[in-house]
């Protein structure tokens, strides 16, 4: 359903990019996944690289990303998106390749692939949606769940002695020489969305220059998993996630 270009003498200044399909997203109300999908596709649209872009969807709530993103896509096994992206990028060296993964996918089951993909400096963009929980399977503890956080597998709160500390994998990856650009963003406010989009733009640019892996962590909400309204979730995000996962560039090339 495309809205008209002009209405009451006013011109359209913002609309859904054509690189998103018409399919309504299945995400819960207010979920960050939708925002990140949108800005990712806006960048593809604005850069005019739809015909040169291949995406990889993970197993997690964003498993259906290919239903919404209007680019060629592959759906990877749980945790293996970066390996799949490696396979694609190696045989299509002039393509823009991105992998899109949740925290369970990228930082639990896929840790090995994540570390080695970045260590090889694969020329891909890795988008990492850190919502501190396993959204899709019903709110289990993620490696990034905060201490004390109650989830369906830490019903009395995450304890360091049993489950270890929340994993700041992004900081680890930033130290690998293969990582070219590593940043942590969020999408819970207009300003945050704009910044995050800039990070995506930069990452796609670096890909043409074959400079290594670009890695964007998005500190995201999961209203359902956290059992909050979207606005509550975004507040909680700022108050609880940001102190442990501070926003900003972790490794940025000199401009």
């Amino acid at each position: 359903m495309k809205e008209p270009d002009v209405i009451e003498g006013m011109e359209v200044v913002y609309r859904k990019p054509q690189t998103l399909t018409a399919t309504p997203m299945h995400y819960c109300p207010g979920c960050s996944h939708g925002v990140v999908h949108k800005i990712l596709m806006e960048v593809v649209d604005e850069m005019g690289i739809q015909d040169k872009t291949v995406g990889v969807a993970p197993v997690g709530c964003s498993v259906f990303a290919y239903d919404y993103m209007n680019v060629d896509m592959q759906e990877a096994a749980h945790g293996r998106a970066s390996a799949v992206a490696t396979g694609i990028r190696r045989v299509l060296p002039d393509t823009y390749v991105f992998a899109y993964q949740g925290d369970g996918d990228l930082a639990a089951i896929g840790t090995g692939e994540t570390v080695h993909t970045v260590n090889r400096g694969e020329n891909i963009l890795m988008v990492f949606i850190n919502n501190g929980i396993y959204g899709m399977t019903g709110g289990q503890m993620a490696p990034t769940s905060l201490l004390g956080m109650k989830t369906s597998t830490s019903p009395y709160g995450r304890e360091a002695a049993v489950n270890g500390y929340p994993l700041r994998i992004t900081e680890l990856l930033a130290q690998l020489p293969g990582a070219y650009y590593v940043t942590r963003q969020s999408v819970h406010t207009t300003a945050a969305v704009r910044k995050c989009k800039k990070a995506i733009e930069a990452s796609f640019r670096y890909q043409t220059e074959k400079r290594g892996t670009c890695f964007i962590e998005v500190v995201a909400n999961c209203p359902s998993g956290w059992k909050m309204t979207p606005n509550e979730a975004n507040d909680w995000l700022e108050k609880n996630m940001f102190p442990y996962y501070p926003i900003g560039d972790i490794k940025a090339p000199k401009q």
């Binding site: 809205e3 270009d5 359209v12 913002y14 054509q18 207010g30 939708g34 925002v35 207009t190 606005n231």
Partner: protein
Amino acid sequence: MIRGTIVVDTQICKGCELCITACPQDCLELSPGLNQKGYRYAQLKNDTCTGCVNCAIVCPDCAITVYRQAKKPRSVAVTA
């Protein structure tokens, strides 16, 4: 004041209220009725909209199209 307006795709909107929080003009509210999926949806509650696109930018479901008084239109995601 620049004049603007928005169109909400009421069937797509999930009533998450993020746009309401994001609107600097406080011109959004939830509808009293439900859409086909059972959600109350966002709607303009007054005509103070400036077409600043804040609401649309945070909308996870791309449910908002934003219009603004002719001037050179911003080029955010306009590709039609």
